[in-house]
Symmetry: C2
Subunit: 126 residues, 2 copies
């Protein structure tokens, strides 16, 4: 199980079909199908009931979907926060001189203040 598989699985869940998910992800439909099959084999459960023209989530599929949403959400938050840190590092000099830096992002990280105090204490870390 990896993040790539979870992302593909989630996209299939949300779009309701593998072909639509393929378009969203700029992949081919066979690759999507193969990835879902891999997931099912690895977890030893059937994730979708293959109906004609419709995919129906099994119970295992529903459970995985909820986990996948929470996991993806955490991963995105992590990446966003690390990106903030990376950007702040690049704009380090400006931080000390400007009071508007806190407004430059729509979603300031909750770790922002913590970071600033850390920066003051250990400037050599950056």
């Amino acid at each position: 199980m990896n993040l790539r598989q979870l992302k593909i699985f989630l996209t299939v869940c949300e779009s309701g079909s593998m072909s639509k998910a393929a378009k969203k992800l700029y992949m081919t439909q066979p690759s999507i199908s193969q990835t879902i099959s891999e997931l099912e084999q690895e977890l030893n459960v059937k994730l979708f009931e293959r109906m004609s023209k419709k995919l129906l989530l099994t119970y295992a599929g529903e459970v995985l979907k909820e986990y996948a949403k929470r996991i993806s959400s955490l991963v995105e938050e992590a990446q966003s926060t690390l990106l903030d840190i990376s950007n702040l590092k690049a704009g380090k000099l400006r931080i000390g001189a400007s009071t508007t830096v806190g407004n430059k992002d729509k979603y300031p990280s909750p770790l922002f203040n913590e970071f600033l105090s850390y920066l003051k204490e250990f400037p050599s870390q950056f």
Copy 2:
């Protein structure tokens, strides 16, 4: 960023060195080093301060470590729950006949009861 990188990163954090992490993960030390470098490049931050004989987490490293722990924890919970479902599927007949099935795992999934009711309603799904 993927789960493999996070697992390796976490192991390095916990063991305090790349060579120890390599032993824990049954990998070679250069592979660990390479993976950490990849992570740092992808995220555009330095994760460790390379001291002599000691690795010190940077602020970015501390942040990633906390996220990595939460993400890994969720992933493990997901796998454990799906494994439960997989096992229950295999032991489907026994479920109906036995009252001890709920004790067979140390950590019964919180979704267990939900699953049982689902199983009764849609037995054909399994």
